[in-house]
């Protein structure tokens, strides 16, 4: 038996089972090591449940940053809140939030994504995880971290390694065909937000059609219609998040 198979003293990580037997090693096997089943390879999380992480994705210009700003206005007083933005090539979104004074600078981090906004939220989430970790390290326990993805296309979704729930934001100005077109964002997001309803008459978008198609694509998953110029506190979305945070209980 390898020395690294020895039971660690007081290892907190549950063993696969009490009867766990490491595989045998023949005398002719090259030397190698195994991750110790008694050691959690992840860094210890802060004591208590960590912040709820909500990803906000959707096509370019659909209103993701406007939604983040509205949620900061609505929830900033009652929840310990921080934001991570993923711009494609600037810190425009982070700057917008700062300029509008919805959140103090130390609560906002901008992640750079090297031309690939979807990679940073799905395939290689390291920079986003580091940003969340840094926010929690400097601010202490948080209740809610909003992660805004860079504007992308209908296929961009968040990895579950990064977020707990995701919101997908589309807008009526993109045409009432968008819910019908589907894609993983529209079909699988935990909440679909159809934004800019105030523009519907101007672009000839039929909200009833969008509602019907969204229901067809999403089954039981919720969809809300929103106009962030009319509802500056994104009331239905804030309410949805309040319920999630309440369900999880307070952090730290």
């Amino acid at each position: 038996m390898h020395p690294d198979h020895a039971t660690p003293a007081g290892g907190a990580w549950p063993r696969p089972s009490e009867n766990y037997v490491p595989h045998a090693h023949g005398p002719d096997e090259p030397p190698h090591t195994h991750p110790d089943p008694g050691v959690d390879p992840h860094q210890a999380l802060a004591a208590g449940p960590r912040a709820l992480r909500v990803g906000i994705g959707g096509p370019v210009g659909s209103g993701k940053t406007a939604l983040v700003a509205a949620l900061c206005r609505a929830l900033g007083e009652e929840l310990r809140l921080a934001v991570v933005t993923n711009d494609i090539y600037t810190t425009e979104d982070a700057d917008f939030l700062l300029r509008n004074g919805v959140l103090p600078a130390e609560r906002i981090r901008a992640v750079e994504t090297g031309c690939c906004p979807h990679t940073a939220i799905r395939d290689d989430i390291s920079a986003n995880l580091d940003a969340v970790e840094d926010l929690e390290a400097t601010l202490g326990p948080l209740d809610l971290v909003l992660v805004e993805s860079g504007g992308d296309n209908l296929t961009a979704t968040f990895s579950k390694g990064l977020i707990d729930r995701q919101i997908f934001v589309v807008d009526v100005a993109g045409g009432d065909k968008v819910p019908r077109k589907g894609g993983p964002g529209v079909t699988a997001a935990d909440l679909l937000v159809i934004n800019k309803t105030d523009l519907a008459p101007l672009v000839g978008a039929d909200l009833a059609v969008m509602d019907r198609d969204a229901k067809e694509r999403r089954g039981e998953l919720p969809t809300v219609f929103l106009s962030l110029v009319e509802d500056r506190a994104a009331t239905p979305v804030a309410e949805w998040i309040r319920i999630l945070v309440g369900v999880r209980g307070p952090a730290g």
Binding site: P41, E112, S126
Partner: protein, 214 residues
């Protein structure tokens, strides 16, 4: 030593933050020094012979003596005059540790080591040797910048991979040389510098609009 394990460690798809960095290429493209495939070839050869050799030697040394990571990290600081490059290297080291911790049981190595130090310690934890650590480092030096070249210059991806294939023997040679230093004192490890990379990185860090983090 497991060859497949080395491939896992050196895979460009490893979620270790590399996709957001151009290895200094974006600054040189913008300065007009790198415009086409031949320029990219020259850029990669230069990188390999300078920062590539240093990275490979430190990865090899960290693989040989993971317990000395702090000293090696200091040696890399001394060889990285540009604060922007230090920051980029440490950010990628931190990301690499995150991936490494999920794959192997890592010894203590701090929170944000330089990327080559982290790579060497990962290689050690994966049961690989200094030579393999050096190959992974040299290879990573070229592939990261090459994939950025495809994105920045809209080059033919096949032509860029043909270039990488041509550079493979040079990678092996640099890695071999680096691995021979694995037991050297930190001060005796290679210290080849590339001033234009340092200067480019400092300019790049001040840009308001850029596609890559470094």
């Amino acid at each position: 030593m497991s060859l497949a394990t080395l491939l896992v460690l050196a895979d460009g798809r490893l979620p270790a933050g590399g996709h957001a960095h151009s290895g200094g290429l974006e600054a040189q493209v913008s300065a007009g020094r790198v415009r086409d495939l031949d320029d990219v070839a020259a850029f990669l050869r230069g990188k390999l012979a300078t920062s590539g050799l240093v990275a490979a030697a430190f990865a090899a040394a960290a693989c040989r003596r993971p317990g000395r990571w702090a000293e090696l990290d200091g040696g890399l600081d001394a060889r990285t005059p540009s604060p922007a490059l230090r920051k980029a290297s440490r950010a990628q080291g931190r990301a690499l540790l995150r991936a490494g911790r999920a794959m192997w049981a890592l010894p203590p190595i701090g929170r944000e080591p330089h990327q080559p130090t982290a790579l060497g310690v990962l290689a050690h934890a994966a049961g690989l040797g200094p030579e393999e650590a050096a190959v992974a480092a040299a290879h990573g030096t070229t592939t990261g910048a090459a994939s950025a070249a495809v994105r920045l210059l809209a080059l033919d991806p096949y032509a860029v991979h043909a270039l990488l294939a041509r550079l493979a023997p040079a990678c092996d040679r640099i890695a071999g040389e680096a691995a021979r230093h694995a037991d050297d004192a930190v001060n005796d490890l290679p210290a080849a510098g590339a001033p234009l990379l340092d200067i480019g990185a400092e300019h790049h860090a001040t840009w308001e609009v850029r596609l890559f983090a470094s």
